[in-house]
Symmetry: C2
Subunit: 287 residues, 2 copies
């Protein structure tokens, strides 16, 4: 098995174009009497930039399981909506009180505080509708299972739980173990959902769904460690974190092996995270 001939940049560029296209159609058409500012805010939060990492993983997992890009698009849109809503709510004055994101005013600055709460709620809710209305060729029980995975990993046992844990512990996250628990919930959970949902939409077996869920979780934690190293956060834990990235990426590769050549994108993505972490660590040490 080789990843050297695989062009990750071209792959991501193509899949990202398809995910972006699907996202522009994922918000509802409104009549003249409908709440226009709410929809405008949902578009503002969802459609301006972002790396679309969660859709990429969803698509790559679906393809690893033998499914098409098209089969993964509703789940990809749903995940990006959950991610977008979480940013809207996290930016609120009562949370991080951020005024800018990606060089533009945050949603509550642009649309007001009350609307920002509703825009987040509407995006979160719309995610499940988009997934439910998704692809008619996918059996109902796979759609229901994908929705349940999404709810599980986005809620108290996943992303929202991680956000709450972060608030409850504040600045007292001093061990790599607790840091990784927060990363697993805040970041890893949605990637775990991406792996599981992509697998379900691609026709994977139950054990394959669980393996791609685990792949996503490990990838997400490694990704967040790499980000920490890059952002110069958690300085005392930096070398420990780099070793964890290596370990997690190696576990990802073990889980992806069963999918053979079809898992080339997943392997290349995992390698990219590892390279990123090492480059950041080397850069930091060189300062």
């Amino acid at each position: 098995m080789t990843t050297t001939t695989f062009d990750l940049t071209a792959y991501l560029s193509d899949r990202r174009r398809q995910a972006d296209e699907a996202l522009t159609h994922a918000l509802p058409e409104l009549g003249p009497d409908d709440p226009g500012k709410l929809k405008e805010g949902m578009q503002y939060a969802l459609l301006q930039g972002g790396k679309r990492m969660r859709p990429m993983i969803t698509i790559a997992a679906c393809e690893a399981a033998g499914g098409s890009v098209a089969a993964a698009l509703p789940a990809s849109c749903a995940l990006e909506m959950i991610h977008a809503y979480s940013l809207v709510h996290d930016d609120l004055p009562a949370m991080d009180n951020d005024l800018e994101r990606r060089g533009r005013p945050t949603v509550h600055v642009a649309f007001g505080h009350a609307h920002a709460i509703l825009i987040g709620d509407a995006l979160l809710t719309r995610a499940f509708e988009v997934l439910g209305r998704g692809v008619s060729s996918i059996p109902g029980e796979r759609i229901a299972a994908a929705m349940t995975y999404l709810a599980h990993h986005a809620g108290i046992h996943g992303m929202v739980g991680g956000q709450a844990l972060d608030i409850e512990h504040g600045q007292n996250i001093l061990s790599l173990e607790l840091l990784e628990r927060v990363h697993a919930l805040k970041t890893g959970a949605l990637y775990a959902a991406a792996g599981a949902m992509g697998a379900l939409c691609g026709g994977a077996s139950e054990s394959q769904v669980r393996d791609l869920e685990a792949w996503g979780l490990k990838f997400g934690i490694a990704f967040q460690h790499a980000d920490d190293i890059l952002d110069d956060d958690q300085q005392t834990l930096r070398t420990e974190a780099l070793a964890r990235v290596d370990g997690l990426v190696s576990e990802c590769d073990g889980l992806a092996e069963q999918f053979g050549e079809r898992a080339q994108p997943l392997r290349a993505l995992a390698k990219w995270v590892k390279d990123r972490a090492h480059a950041a660590h080397a850069g930091v040490k060189a300062d």
Copy 2:
């Protein structure tokens, strides 16, 4: 067909007991390292009182379609969670800024503003998980359809849209038409979801699902009109609203007719709303 021998009070008391019992088990078990305050806040918002009207309609619709109470319980819990989250977010300082609800401090007063946002998000998300993990005897495509109805009616085309419309129009709701549009979205939509979801879980045909969805919408609007009359709101529209309640309840009865004796609870509930509106109107006039 007669409703005179049907004991609505006994029916509601029994079904409410079953819905309350299901709700106490609908929140996840947590380990010692999990975000305890988040779960505590979810319990606080969900388990202390409330009329459980949406679960009652879900159960009654399921029974009208020939299903059991047990088949309707996950959908009932999901709807009550959506209702509970909407109250938590509506009470926030940026929205209605309410400090008390049902004689107790609101969630943001008791748990802090940041946690209140997350408690609402977690309840909203958990609703879909509870529904997805629900009853194994219900086919996956019915569960997926129920989740999609829930998302549709809870989101921009339903409850959240109504909330936004209410904010966007503010005090300028002067026609019964616009008032009813806000009622249909803010209140009616979740009752429409209750009718459709109950029907789906009860094994109803596609046209029966649509009819019970319509029943729920009309019931919800009538219920809200009755509440307005009771609360002495919208004084100028009061007599017009009373006539609408009569019309809506009569349409409800027409939709319920096909279900025969099994629709006794639905008929009794519709009659109860009509009686309530008339009593309130008479009381108001007598002042």
